[in-house]
């Protein structure tokens, strides 16, 4: 266990989720006789869930800042129908249609951000209103009809990397993507190590770093070769997702904006007294969510080749579930972009595997509900008992730490505070932040 901790360092909780994902994949791979990791199925999983994962990226920022957004599905549907109609009726070129959609998303975001940040109405209420309003707007604009979109537009939903270069038996661009990705990761790791060494900070042991890098690269290359061996290359929607994960992961962990989002969610008063403009932060997370929702809506429309009146129903809940499975706290201040993606993938693989096995939609829903509950319950239980969970077998010590911090929270000395929010995850799931 110690070795595992050394190799993966930092966030062991996320590792627990990754482990769960790996186990899930392995389980379905065996149960379905290899269907799960069939290249086409992998493509399918990516394309069929990319839009939810895009929503999860926006949602995790909203949740870290201490809010919630229930309107994302309706916004997606509203933007989808407007774009589809604009392209059809005004014969806009499809790239202009996409820009129009993003612009519209931004407008919607400004609207919701205004009510949350300026007027100070809880996001739960504002976005509940938005959920109703934009659902209605979708049906009003589209007259409850289904509107098709042109083929060019469909690229962002169902397109793949094209075949280029010599015939290697693989999709060359996909393989190249994998190699570039690995190179970037190794370069990044070495660079930060060098800088830390320079200022004399403690760095992890070299073997631990190399083992981790090797494992990560192996997974990436493995996945890319797997996809590249199929009929099509890496999906465009997957590519969009990867880019967004990189950008938003960077924003959340390395930029001033990201710091401020965590600060506002962690303790708004302290953040304000440190010069953080919490209104601006709240405005940003809400507006940004709407823009990503519009993108997700268009990706979905592109994949299903048409926009309809019932697009986006229930998406907000999938996105929120992904975020909480990924370790975010309902009370705000805790969560990561990558964690939410992993959480979303757990749901996606589960969905897909159950489908392949021929389990009906009814049972699938029930299982998904239970998985959410159990994942979060383990977390809460861990934190209150300090006992390792299935996911957290590795994290004994860390959890004990956290538990102690918590023990103090309820009770004890002002001095060593620690507050309910250390608890973070979902101990208050259900309360509207």
């Amino acid at each position: 266990m110690n070795i595992v901790r050394k190799i993966f360092g930092g966030d062991i909780r996320q590792l627990g989720m990754v482990a769960a994902l790996v186990i899930l994949i392995a389980y379905f791979q065996i149960k379905t006789g290899g269907l799960t990791l069939d290249p086409n199925n992998v493509n399918n999983i990516i394309q069929g869930n990319a839009y939810i994962l895009v929503l999860a990226i926006g949602m995790v920022l909203v949740i870290i800042a201490g809010h919630i957004d229930l309107s994302v599905g309706s916004i997606s549907a509203f933007v989808g129908i407007v774009v589809a109609i604009a392209i059809r009726d005004w014969s806009l070129p499809w790239p202009v249609g996409i820009l129009l959609g993003l612009g519209l998303g931004a407008l919607v975001g400004v609207w919701q951000g205004f009510w949350v940040a300026r007027v100070g109405i809880p996001a739960f209420i504002v976005t509940l209103a938005g959920m109703l309003f934009f659902r209605g707007a979708n049906q009003y604009v589209g007259k409850s009809n289904t509107v098709p979109v042109p083929e060019g537009f469909q690229v962002i939903g169902s397109g793949s990397l094209p075949e280029v270069g010599p015939n290697t038996g693989y999709n060359n661009l996909t393989v190249l993507l994998g190699i570039l990705g690995c190179a970037a990761i190794v370069y990044g790791a070495l660079r930060s190590r060098a800088r830390l060494t320079k200022i004399g900070a403690q760095v992890e042991e070299a073997w631990a770093m190399w083992t981790r890098l090797a494992l990560v690269c192996l997974v990436i290359l493995g996945a890319m070769f797997l996809i590249a061996s199929g009929r099509k290359g890496f999906p465009v929607s997957g590519l969009i997702l990867v880019v967004l994960v990189l950008v938003y992961g960077f924003i959340a962990s390395k930029t001033v904006l990201g710091r401020h989002i965590y600060a506002v969610g962690g303790n708004r008063h302290a953040a304000e007294l440190s010069g953080v403009k919490s209104r601006q932060i709240n405005f940003f997370v809400m507006a940004n969510m709407a823009v990503l929702a519009s993108l997700a809506g268009m990706m979905f429309v592109a994949r299903s080749t048409a926009s309809g009146p019932f697009d986006g129903v229930g998406w907000e809940l999938d996105a929120i579930a992904a975020v909480f499975i990924g370790g975010a706290a309902v009370t705000g201040g805790v969560g990561t972009v990558v964690g939410s993606i992993v959480g979303g993938l757990v749901m996606a693989v589960l969905n897909n595997g159950l489908q392949l096995e021929g389990v009906g939609a009814d049972a699938t829903q029930m299982i998904k509900g239970l998985v959410l509950l159990i994942a979060v319950a383990f977390d809460v239980y861990n934190k209150s008992q300090g006992k390792p969970s299935i996911l957290g077998l590795f994290q004994r010590n860390r959890d004990r730490n956290r538990r102690l911090a918590e023990a103090e929270s309820g009770t004890v000395d002002t001095q060593n505070p620690a507050q309910s929010s250390v608890t973070s995850t979902s101990s208050t799931l259900g309360s509207d932040s």
Binding site: S192, R195, L196, K198, I199, A201, Q202, K254, T255, V256, L257, R259, Y262, A263, G266, N267, H269, A270, A271, E272, L273, S274, G275, V276, K277, G333, V334, N397, R398, R400, N401, L404, A405, A407, E408, G410, T411, V412, D413, T414, Q415, N416, P417, A418, Q419, S421, V422, S424
Partner: protein
Amino acid sequence: MSNVAPTATGTARTGSHEVILEMRAITKEFPGVKALSDVDMTVRRGEIHAICGENGAGKSTLMKVLSGVHPHGSYRGEILWNGAPAQFSSIRDSEQAGIVIIHQELALIPELSIAENIFLGNEQTRRGAIDWVQTQAKAAQLLERVGLSEDPMTKVKDIGVGKQQLVEIAKALSKDVQLLILDEPTAALNESDSQHLLQIMDGLRSHGVTCIMISHKLNEIEQISDAITIIRDGRSIETLRVKEDGVDENRIIRGMVGRDLESRFPDHTPTIGEVFFEVKHWNVQHPVRADRLVANDASFFVRRGEIVGFAGLMGAGRTELMRSIFGRSYGTLLGGTIVKDGKELHLKHVRDAIDAGLAYVTEDRKTLGLNLLDDIKRTTVSAKLSRITHGLVVDETEEYRIAEQYRQELRTKTPNVEEGVAKLSGGNQQKVVLAKWLFTEPDLLILDEPTRGIDVGAKFEIYGIIQRLAAQGKGVIVVSSELPELLGLADRIYTIAEGRITGCLDKAQADQESLMRLMTKNTTRTQANAVS
């Protein structure tokens, strides 16, 4: 077996005193930190037993072990309660046994009444419904025991901290307490509230209740306690019996830090320059009660290199005044000007204030000073991220280096700067908050109760830092409820009462009496209900 100092009298009298609690060889480890190692402590029935030690020595941890916050099994060693081994696995267990702990952070619910708070979790019921008559009557009795003349139905948020502390004690008494643990009970109280609390403790003692009290206010300890156990670096150093051993403050300090501390304030010869910061006719309205002015035509100035003290009773408006200056972070500004270096400033937001070279260290580090989810290094740089950003990107290497530098400079006790601030002891949290504001490189540093909950040694260090800043030509404002602190540190002291500045004394003229007189001076608008 008992760890009582083996003076002739001490040993002789042990026999005549019944031992109520014995903690033997308590060892408690957190990952990477050994908070307690082999701590022994013996408490006699009916005494007030103080625990002294530097920040992070392990005092609070020891009490958490005793009260079951750290459950049995998470520590090594033995607890003998009334002679029998005790194994508490939660606070409930220890309460059942008659041990009640009162945390410094009061655990009262502001929106509930005093009576409801007292019986929270222990509701007085009749046939399944709350018996309000019983609740009120019993609450009134308990309040009388702690000398609090308030209507039991008053909401807790409407009484001051001092009275809230008494409500906590009343709550403890409602549970048939044999041993009452108070963790820094007077840290947030002013002089007279503290004295009242000590009297109540004295009364409890005469009724046979045993008390353990953690405090950094050594004068109070000397005044009230019968015995003192000293903890240093997680070890019990000695137990002193106050009367028999003739203990005084210096003796306690010697035990705590392992050497004599010649003076409480570092030597300092101020070099005071010209006036560089001035506030004129500052009027601020209370955020909710529009009829109240929290700052009433306040004017004051600070010179370069000067340490300016602000004295006042609780609720006099010192914090409110400072916060309203610091980017209007409190109340509604009705009028007034701020001039710094000859230029008028319009500080509409905290950001503007920070950029203008102001820093404000809050008195309430938990709710206003820290994001407890964050770690030390990120907290240290959080008030001035722009100093370590390239574009919009935070330079994390630089962040680490700076946090490490402040850790060493302020001697913050922590395994490393990646530790979460929630895990630090109170005094060390305060150092992190201080580091955060020093990092903004302010011209004017406003410190609100900077040494609350801080041990003597660390106080000395913090005074040293304040004086160094002043020596660099910066201005420092110190708001403090401890008059000796202001008298020892400040070059000039303003007094505030009910939002008005009622006086300004130079160091040479100031003493406790003159300050007290000005602090309680009736202003023209007498408001009987000025907040507690």
